[in-house]
Symmetry: C2
Subunit: 308 residues, 2 copies
């Protein structure tokens, strides 16, 4: 049985302070040097046992990893690079060995914090009678001149996604995906990305969100939506529905000018990372166009938390 | 029943973007202008139903308020002023009316965010089968040249607390206290505060934490520890134990030079806000000295979360 003081000392050893963090775990708060930037970006995402993962069939390592990954994906979507992480936990008292459990959770966190050189600089660990909760907050700084928002898509822009969609939850891919940080960095450094976000709740709902924020609409070519091999259905309509609505893909959805897209498309090394799925329209509606040119409304079929 | 999109729109209306926040609720992350500072401080504190409050006898308003207050207290302890807030929630599906519940939680948050002009700039709201969880993260900037840490106490420093201690949980004061932001700001602007922290787990354990971080020890005068009227015991020994170990006081513990303290003590308007409780020693032990000069070890009697 470890006391809180011993636990914090162990975390300090595991996550040593490194730039741009100046003061990490162990004080009332963490101090982050922000002299290299005018703007800091903050993302936060809470994962719950039984909702975003299930400890009955998932390792604590993968849960810690996912909690980092979904937040890194949010930073990628903002065209940012991570600087520091803050981890809040509620750990069930009913666990046989909380020490071993936490060891694994933090090993999953460290897998990604080490890979992207993010300093875990603070947090809060509690025990209680409820199920496991992990809430990760990340700070980051823009890779380019400014963060990339959802609201900058313009009529005529090409819409792209960075990978095939669907089947993530069923296959377990949502626990092992790689956040698109490097790809987003390369994009922002080489092109004027008008709007970007990550696909967490499904392309259908997330596209609506981007178009609403941009006060635009979109035409999506049904045959152009890339379907992930994890989608097991063989019927095209059913596969398409899953690709549009399963969610937890954590690919990027982005809008850029046709001119920029044509340049990107000539880049033999990179063009295969992008799938052109449609075009931004002035008319504020999202529609799906099939191979025969027939249009249907793109329903908001993605997954929404119900706040009832 | 509100959808997530409607819920987010309502939050955007309730918490409009204001400086230094440039992008608030609704994108993948929030953007905070940090051009006015070289250092940003991040604090995070998770509160759990049944641990830090009990919804059976507490209003959702007071829970939202407390979740802000404990984090504001952490920023005060760092000598910082808040800039932005991020609120993650796990809301039980079993609630009769989640809308009304969330309305009250956010009203409690807004009570303090308005008072201190903090922009609620992001977060994450989920529903689940578990009990209520609220995790608030705040960013802040130093009021003075740098944040005040726990680690700067020096032998010979005077130890002060900013108010009487004990009885906070029993009385419900932990739900209604005022974070010492203004007092901390005034202190930092007028004195060289060597070390500061807030008393959340009880003076005994929190003093040990500060002394350990500073690589020093402390002598505390038992008769000088101010006991809160909320401590109902009439026996001095029992009252003192509660003042030392109840926790959730959210007063500040600080170390400053004797010279600075003497100046502070001559300030008739302010001196009543401070209680001199002891002195920092080179020897790395914390001890209590009674009215007859007898010393006993100051036990780490405060409240620690047990990990495992």
């Amino acid at each position: 049985m470890n006391s809180e003081l011993q636990f914090i000392r162990a975390l300090q050893n595991r996550f040593p302070v490194r730039s741009p963090v100046q003061v990490g775990i162990g004080d009332d708060g963490a101090v982050v040097d922000c002299s290299m930037t005018d703007r800091q970006v903050v993302v936060i995402d809470m994962l719950l046992d039984g909702v975003h993962f299930d400890l009955k069939d998932t390792t604590p390592h993968l849960v810690g990893r996912k909690a980092m990954a979904v937040n890194l994906s949010d930073l990628a979507a903002m065209g940012c690079w991570p600087t520091a992480a803050f981890v809040s936990l509620a750990v069930p008292k009913s666990l046989d060995s909380a020490d071993a459990f936490l060891e694994q959770v933090f090993a999953g966190i460290r897998e990604l914090s080490t890979h992207w050189d993010v300093c875990v600089a603070g947090g809060d660990t509690n025990t209680w009678d409820g199920p496991f909760v992990i809430d990760v907050c990340l700070t980051g700084i823009p890779v380019g001149q400014h963060p990339v928002l959802r609201s900058g898509a313009r009529p005529g822009d090409v819409l792209l996604v960075t990978g095939p969609l669907g089947g993530s939850l069923n296959s377990g891919r949502h626990l092992t995906f790689t956040p698109r940080l490097e790809l987003a960095k390369w994009l922002v450094q080489n092109y004027d990305i008008h709007a970007m976000m990550d696909i967490s709740d499904g392309l259908a709902i997330d596209l609506h969100r981007m178009m609403e924020a941009s006060e635009t609409g979109a035409d999506v070519l049904a045959d152009a939506v890339p379907i992930h091999p994890d989608v097991r259905s063989t019927a095209r309509n059913s596969s398409l529905l899953q690709a549009l609505s399963d969610g937890e893909d954590f690919e990027l959805l982005l809008a850029m000018s046709l001119g920029d897209f044509e340049t990107l498309n000539r880049d033999a090394e990179r063009s295969h990372d992008f799938h052109r799925i449609g075009v931004v329209r002035k008319e504020r509606r999202c529609q799906l166009i099939d191979g025969r040119g027939r249009t249907t409304a793109l329903h908001v079929a993605g997954w929404q938390h119900e706040i009832s």
